[in-house]
Assembly symmetry: D2
Homo-oligomer: 425 residues x 4
């Protein structure tokens, strides 16, 4: 998302409102639950993104600004050691106070001061920080969806987030999986460092723009479907150690629950497969992209197919200069959709699901983190994680870029994550 200086105030209001809109269907109780350490309570998300503006804009740049509440500086600091202490992440779900109403009041307070700041004479650095704050809030909007889904989807009552009554033509299978070939060579990926400035936004981890050398490769023209992943299960995929990385297999064997191994939110009942979605429990649709698989599951599936996951370099070459269009949160589906358009070439590149790559998340050559405490935003996570590309059905369309690098641990599966294959040469 790039903003114009003129409409920055209305952009600010729109992004801020969007967070509230996402939470609108929730009961008050839903705002508080932290169903696992990684899935923060919606109330905490709403406060934390507000803390971000207060900490990085209001405190340093508004003369005489009084901190709203000293305790909030600790409670709603996620991981910025450069700012100060943090309340333990695993205990966010224990904070019945401040209440939702008090958090909403905090938002109004900060919004009021932010709008005043935006209307004043702000420099390039301040403009950049506002753009960063808005992108930051958009990231948490995606997390609101994934964390709300994790809460409701693990509640024994399986309450839907919303009731859509969508017709689910679940038996329909997908068209054949084809591979599109790309010729190797030297390409440029990433964003030029000096282009990130003011309201022209990209994250530090996407730069510098640099040359890469890529071999010839072939990549699947669409995402892997539920039906294809079910074949993996039925072929004993979860029971065959030779298909799994060593760390993945150790984790699988240590799982004590008695459920049939499957992607998160799948379950089998009376020999039929079901999937919990934000619209509630549905029959598993065979032609929809498989979703909520971990990087380990993606990798094992690829092995079973005799293939591999693409590298992030290959992915960015594939994305080329195509338009960034797809099934984003803006479509309202809130779930990956079957391939629908009959075009040739790669499809579902953007939206639907984040695509696991085989690439470890690391610095681009010449990488420089943002200055100061904001430098903790991306750089310090460059260990043990994998890069995902393309955005998902709960990503705002205005948030994503071709060069955008998302990252999660290979065992994570509560995000809307899926699989695209590359062929082994």
């Amino acid at each position: 998302m790039s903003f114009s200086r003129e409409s920055l105030g209305s952009s600010y209001l729109a992004v801020r409102q969007q967070s509230l809109d996402i939470c609108e269907p929730l009961e008050i109780e839903d705002y508080l639950v932290q169903p696992m350490d990684d899935a923060s309570p919606p109330k905490w998300h709403l406060a934390h993104v507000t803390w971000f503006f207060e900490t990085f804009l209001l405190k340093p740049f508004v003369r005489g600004y009084q901190v709203y509440d000293d305790a909030y500086e600790v409670l709603f600091n996620s991981y910025y050691n450069g700012v100060g202490e943090q309340y333990p992440r695993s205990k966010r779900g224990l904070l019945s106070r401040p209440t939702l109403d008090e958090v909403l009041e905090y938002r109004r307070h900060v919004d009021e001061h932010m709008l005043r700041l935006i209307d004043s004479d702000i420099d390039q650095d301040q403009q950049f920080r506002i753009a960063l704050g808005l992108h930051h809030e958009q990231q948490h909007q995606e997390l609101l969806f994934t964390d709300i889904k994790y809460n409701l989807g693990n509640n024994p009552l399986c309450p839907p987030y919303r009731s859509n009554g969508a017709d689910n033509n679940y038996r329909q299978t997908s068209q054949p999986l084809n591979f599109v070939e790309y010729e190797g060579g030297i390409f440029k990926i990433g964003v030029p460092t000096d282009s990130i400035s003011g309201l022209n936004f990209a994250f530090d981890n996407e730069s510098p723009r640099h040359d890469i050398l890529v071999r010839d490769f072939a990549i699947s023209d669409r995402l892997i479907t539920n039906g294809e992943f079910l074949e993996f299960i039925e072929d004993g995929g979860y029971q065959r150690p030779e298909l799994w990385l060593s760390d993945a297999w150790s984790m699988l064997k240590a799982r004590s629950d008695e459920n049939i191994p499957s992607p998160l939110y799948w379950f089998k009942k009376d020999s039929e497969w079901f999937e919990y979605t934000l619209d509630g429990v549905e029959r598993l649709a065979m032609n929809k992209p498989v979703c909520h698989v971990s990087g380990y599951e993606a990798e094992a599936f690829a092995s079973w197919k005799g293939m591999r996951l693409p590298t992030e370099q290959e992915w960015e070459v594939m994305a080329g200069d195509a338009d960034v269009v797809g099934n984003f949160v803006d479509s309202g589906a809130l779930h990956p959709e079957p391939v629908s358009f009959p075009d040739k070439g790669v499809r579902q590149v953007f939206g639907d699901v984040w695509e696991w790559t085989q690439s470890s998340y690391g610095p681009y050559p010449g990488f420089k983190p943002f200055a100061g405490a904001l430098g903790e935003y991306n750089g310090k996570f460059m260990a043990n994680q994998l890069v995902l590309r393309g955005g998902s059905c709960v990503t705002p369309a205005s948030h994503i870029r071709r060069t955008y690098r998302n990252f999660f641990y290979p065992e994570d599966c509560w995000q809307f994550t899926g699989i695209r294959l590359a062929s082994v040469d």
Copy 2:
């Protein structure tokens, strides 16, 4: 509490209403939080005590009764294996659904059917089960206070449960500690088994009434105060292994937090001691009974004094046939109070704090648990726990008896628990 058959309906309504009254000061968010495995969410308590009436009265005795919600049978079963599966205890705080409103609706539904049942021709067994259900709800009323306190008292904002504006004359010290001597001999303790019937209530673990042989003993005439416990701390009590049981010392050494060891809810700030109470943070009152000590702390304190904890037999001999009066929940203090009345003899026997004894919780000779699944109420916990006696400032006065045996693990400290000493002969 013994009930009359005529007023059973109004007794039922009064006890049920009392649970709601206790929760009245809470925010909706407070109803959901489970700050540790042992401290269940208020919403869960409100539902569980309702489930108890539905399970043990409505289902077996009301012809054609339809279970309110099949899922509730699992969600709100605490530990009755004889009834069926249980939702994991440690995850009660993750149940944002059913909402509070839905739980209140469940209460209304069950109350309506219970009142109809009470108005019908019920036999001795049914009467007894209703009495048990009401005592059960009173036990959970005490837990509501302890669990709400644990939640609010561990929230960094330290919100009070209510605002009392009480005057806290914190410097006043207590009168001297005296010991009252009792001659040994053969005594009877407990409740005759055949007297427990219909609305004449006692728990199975209080019977049979039986002879005990007790040696001469001397017991302190009042509870140990905060001031006296502070002397223990200042004498290095928490750093001296010779004062502690081996299991207690292992636990102390394994604690990783950096706070000064002290009773739960105490903290030191700028060289002054404070205590979180249900009225908020207060200066530590030296003449009030020490509260929220574990059995291990009680035992170490006694060792430091060159004394010991009384046995439960000695305690019941001491309680003799005195009236069951004291600082119970009915006084509204919600905190232990200093000794105020100038009588001779033992004081603070009932109310203020549960008194740790050195007695392991076990069966009285000839013990028989209640029949069927209700037999799980007390008997299966007769391992690894200690007996506490006398009730506390959050116990309903109508709930307690001289023969009443409460039980907790020696490491537990979130109940209103305190210390009375016996001398070593």
Copy 3:
């Protein structure tokens, strides 16, 4: 064991030699293994009992005695905080140094000085400490057997400790279980405090001798057999929560291994049951006493029979003034034996297996621990454990007394522990 002053030197040598004799069949590697935290390596046992003599006799009473090795003071201190720091218990199996040879040299050094001290003019206190040291070493001799068995019995190769070639008439069932009735009344149990002095030995936890009040009771005339315990298993005993204490059932459900639940060292192969013994793997002998059951298993078995475990008071009344004879380590069987003699009355009272009681391990009224650091010997363990009585097939006959109180946690099962029942009245 009481010693005479004249033969104290030879008693010392005999007890010390016995420890070495027990280890004689071991390979050097066996001396080092710690197969679980509770089961210390034989080498550590050999060093620790030596440290005991050095610490409590040589250091305080031998003028000019130089400590053998400063590091040993920490390495071989078990749990005496009054003496100083301790090497972590769970890491004893990591001490490849000092080597076995070095530990044996340490033993020789201490023995030499101890014999010189014994030959000198020692007072009552010193005599008592020597007697204590020898009883202490006898306790570790029993642990040598249990810990060696735990190591070898959990090794996939199942090596025998020795090869006895014993004929195992495994199908023979036992005679019927009868109950012997005892009339209640006031009895005396325990050892007079002032009789513990010099070489007249008993532990502090056995005193004072005091009156107890016991109701009429009936107790089984022999131990429960493997055959009887097998009926419990085949009746689904391990799958029925109503038979188990709550803490026991939680533990059972948390066990992740896939073996059929059974007493330690039992396993089923091709529909036949086997048992690992110190003579190697044998067919499970139906008429031998069941062994290596935890207190929880003993209690569940009793519940299944509609009975209970005896109290330690009842046990001591039962033991009466019978001679202390039975299947001790001196018989060489190293395993419990079937009831063989046709006498009337209770049998197998001493030896074969330690008998679980329902009594929590606590202080007798008026209990005073030994003075100084030796006071840590027994008193600090008076929490969360149960009393066991009677000695086992690996207890030295000279070690045990009618008043002897052993204690273990209810979940422990690696000792030679078994079951005697009392009837519920």
Copy 4:
């Protein structure tokens, strides 16, 4: 190491003998200890490398070969799921049986059959498997050193592995750290797949040989020294979160021990720094390469210097076509040595310490694992680990290559691992 067909038998004998020579200074007890899960007992190493030859050569290729012991197939299988079950890794230190003598007998048995096989008419595949088995044993020779050091160095007695009486000129500081510049471009790294065949050995993870694109870079001309790392410590390096990756900082904060954070085997006593080496405890030598740092420590040190770790591609470009010479195990030092030769250009490229790179361990483009169960050798570990290059002072010189890729988790520090820096451009 490449072997000739003629001398394969004597090469086999030499490598096998080398394993025994490494263990020669050990006491029997030392062969058994597993001081942490990752550090296997020497006895287990000796058996496992033997199992490797039996499993991958004798069983498939020697007609009529009888497995030496069925139990060994499970006990000494490290992680080959394709072969069968494995004894739990964390319990290897509990295997007092088979004894060392029995393991040595197992080695003799397998050697006898292996030599007979080598003398027979073996094909390319069998030759390759023998070469693999010998390289495998060499890898375990390095592990023997690191695991023995971990055992002895964590024993409170700090026994030396050997006594060298080396003169330690510990105060001497190092020459200045210079950076050597390399021009970027397209390079080839790795080993051609088809060159790995028969006795011409390389691991599958080193191939295919492929083009890489490297930017200009500058790399330090020698390894970082103890003195330089000490400056990092004294500058508060371990207390500054901004220097550490997020996962590293979480790990640091979770460490409960009270020692001053430092590289493994360092400790401070009376304000002097010491280091445990295989020759025993020595004063920390300021001019020797820092050793036993984790990848996290290496990365934090680089951040503190305003630099970074090299990529493995840069490292291999740096190594160029230099001779593979350095301080390997063959020098007998068993510890990294100061830079001694006054040449220009990069030094200490091979030997001394494995050099951490910033590169995640992953497949080269077109990677194909070895066929069958041998495919588990390298490929399944391509997650969560970093590549290290160059070999160490305990690596056999004949084992290493310029293209050799070692890999460990970023938190691992018990290997001989150190630091070379690259400059940030």
